[in-house]
């Protein structure tokens, strides 16, 4: 047999290579039996449970769904057993159970989001006043077309801004220290930072209280609250920024150093710009995390009903605190406003999150 290879004629002896390129076998094939089994088990279980509920007079959606799932598993096992060996039956049951668990988690998330938005919509859709007015002089029982949450939105924006100013240099600097300088001390810092990210958020509030308020006698102003948020945010930023910096290829650093750049300018001009997307993501996720942080604010923040743009005097409100006090008031209209504010917060977090995912998306064509 002869094979033409770039104009050179080769004579190949032995086994001839196949002329067609290898096609990978489709691994996830499902036979008709596979599909029909679970569908019929599903339908059969629904019928059985429905009839059982008609006969016995049981009630409750949750119980119905659970019983349906259990009967479904039993039927599925029975149907599978008819024409399949034991391992296949176990395989199918495991797949059904695992998928069931994932569906429960998905439904729980869906119900959280949809319930919040549904309850919050009446207040959320008051475009005329909800975002342009404050709660000053508005009684909790007032109808939804009076008053708004501008003061809480502004307060959250200012607090998050200050917290960002504090935690961005600290977090980024720590990340640079952990990845670029290294050493034994850096390992200690990394361990501690990792432990910090999982620390209960209420402790950040206690810490700031024990220092700024007890020792330095500051008032419960927006600035003190922002410091508490910064304490929560710094380790989060440091840790995720470190992950972003670690994937910067070492060759880039070495190239820069070999050209005679100092370590500082290597980091500033090569490492940080390369990791820009990852750093932005870590920062945005940090912002998303602290904008909804409630526990430290319960301890160190006062809550105003009026607009206060000065973080160093007078208390300042924020979205999470507003939500908390609103839903605890027991007044239906105030609770509705709280849910409106919760919807705003949820929308904010979702937008930030989508932005982070967009920035961190894998780039096509690069490397």
């Amino acid at each position: 047999m002869t094979v033409v290879n770039e104009g050179v004629e080769l004579t190949v002896t032995g086994n001839p290579p196949t002329a067609t390129p290898d096609v990978p076998r489709a691994l996830a094939t499902r036979s008709f039996d596979d599909r029909a089994s679970w569908m019929s088990a599903m339908a059969g279980a629904l019928g059985i449970v429905w009839i059982a509920y008609q006969i016995t007079g049981w009630s409750g959606r949750l119980g119905f769904t659970l019983l349906w799932f259990v009967v479904y598993l039993a039927l599925y096992a029975a149907i599978s057993r008819a024409g399949n060996p034991r391992p296949v039956v176990f395989d199918r049951l495991a797949a059904a159970t695992v998928a069931g668990g994932a569906v429960v988690v998905g439904l729980a998330l869906l119900s959280t989001v949809s319930y919040t938005v549904q309850k919050g919509w009446p207040a959320f859709s008051q475009w005329g006043n909800f975002y342009t007015e404050t709660a000053a002089g508005v009684r909790p029982t007032a109808p939804l077309d009076q008053g708004g949450i501008l003061h809480a939105i502004a307060g959250t924006a200012i607090m998050v801004g200050i917290a960002l100013l504090i935690s961005l240099p600290l977090g980024l600097g720590t990340a640079v220290y952990m990845t670029e300088v290294g050493g034994r001390a850096a390992r200690v810092v990394r361990t501690v930072v990792e432990a910090m990210t999982a620390l209960p958020d209420v402790l950040a509030g206690l810490f700031v209280y024990a220092t700024l308020i007890l020792v330095f006698h500051l008032d419960r102003t927006g600035f003190v609250a922002a410091v508490a948020l910064a304490v929560t945010m710094t380790p989060i930023v440091a840790r995720s920024a470190e992950v972003a910096l670690r994937v910067v290829p070492g060759g880039l650093r070495e190239a820069s150093l070999a050209l005679g750049a100092s370590q500082g300018s290597t980091v500033w001009r090569v490492v940080l710009p390369t990791a820009r997307a990852g750093l932005a993501t870590s920062l945005i996720l940090g912002i998303a995390r602290i904008s909804g942080e409630t526990a430290p604010l319960l301890i160190v923040s006062g809550a105003s009903t009026y607009q206060n743009l000065n973080p160093f005097a007078e208390p300042m409100n924020s979205l999470p605190l507003y939500i908390f006090s609103a839903v605890r008031s027991g007044q239906p209209n105030f609770i509705a406003r709280g849910f409106g504010a919760a919807t705003v917060l949820l929308a904010l977090v979702t937008v930030l999150f989508a932005l982070a995912r967009y920035l961190a998306r894998p780039k096509r064509g690069s490397r």
Binding site: L62, A102, V176, V202, L214, T294, L298, P320
Partner: protein, 329 residues
């Protein structure tokens, strides 16, 4: 006249320029600041705890009442409540997180996988106060029926016992609200994404060669998961669960919104009233007197030590499993 000496390697000492030294010192300074900040949290809370601990001694951990005006302060019921809520959250959250992680890493269609990962991350990013609202306004009215059912059929187990007749035609609904069980359910929503993310990332690292070997030997997909993925991911499963435990122990706002404070030592989780350390701190801090403040700071210190211990153990497990030390190829 040949030299008999062996070649000795030249000393490769690093000499940093002034600019490099300045850079290294600055970043090290920032790193140390963060380290000091963290250490300061423990130190300050510990320092504030000394007077309280000296005053109440061991009774701070054995007394169950919290009556600062009568000078009776103790954490035993609160710590029990903390553990109960965390355990409920784990018992519910662990299987769900494990199944979700397995589903995403092993069963989900490849195109949807990154979407599911994103959804779980989003679930982790949802503020805890929103889960608190959901738990209080949406979950609670539904869950009391589950609680009642459990009390009806398993009431003979102390954990599920409720001090009322669950079979009564007009049953005392308020006896079933604001319980550790409902708070634990809300907390489980926060620990599921955390544990799931850790478990999924470890499962995804299960070596392809071993997976294919299992499949080539005729294992079903479940057989492959049971013999390759789960043994490989053991460290991640344990570590993720410990991280979830740490989070569940410290969760504040959602618990505070749901429970009604009660300071009795009881194990019946379905019954109204419980208290957790973080909810105690956040709930009482606003209107606390001077003496009570230091008691609350002491409670904070206890919480700090507790969660730090749990998280450190978790980090050890997760790091060990991620470094690949668990595989034997």
């Amino acid at each position: 006249m040949t030299t008999a000496e062996l070649d000795t390697p030249r000393e490769l000492g690093q000499v940093y320029s002034t600019a490099d030294k300045a850079f290294r010192r600055t970043t090290a300074g920032i790193g140390m600041t963060v380290l000091a900040l963290t250490g300061a949290i423990g130190l300050f809370l510990g320092y504030q705890a000394i007077p309280t601990l000296r005053r109440y001694g061991l009774s701070f951990f054995t007394e169950n009442q919290w009556l600062p005006q009568r000078d009776v302060v103790g954490l035993s019921s609160v710590l029990l409540g903390t553990v109960e809520v965390a355990l409920v959250a784990l018992v519910v959250g662990f299987p769900l997180a494990l199944m979700t992680a397995l589903y995403i890493s092993e069963y989900a269609p490849r195109r949807l996988k990154s979407w599911f990962v994103g959804l779980i991350d989003l679930m982790a990013a949802v503020p805890s106060i929103i889960y608190g609202l959901w738990g209080f306004f949406f979950l609670q009215p539904q869950t009391i029926h589950v609680s009642r059912w459990l009390a009806q059929h398993f009431g003979w187990i102390p954990v599920f016992h409720v001090d009322t007749d669950p079979n009564a035609a007009t049953w005392a609904q308020t006896k079933f609200t604001a319980s550790a069980f409902i708070a634990g359910l809300a907390v489980s929503m926060m620990v599921i994404p955390l544990a799931c993310a850790v478990m999924r990332s470890v499962f995804a690292q299960a070596p392809l060669g071993e997976r294919e070997a299992a499949l080539a030997l005729g294992a079903t997909r479940w057989g492959m998961i049971r013999t390759v993925v789960i043994p490989f991911g053991q460290g991640g499963i344990i570590g993720g669960t410990m991280l979830a435990l740490g989070r569940a122990l410290g969760e504040t706002v959602a618990v505070l919104l749901i429970i009604s404070p009660a300071f009795d030592i009881k194990v019946n989780i379905l019954q109204v009233g419980t208290e957790t350390t973080s909810a105690l701190i956040a709930g009482l801090f606003g209107e606390a007197s001077k003496a009570q403040l230091s008691a609350l700071l002491t409670a904070g210190f206890v919480l700090f030590v507790l969660t730090l211990a749990v998280n450190t153990v978790a980090a050890v497990f997760v790091n060990r499993s991620r470094s690949g030390a668990a595989t034997e190829i």
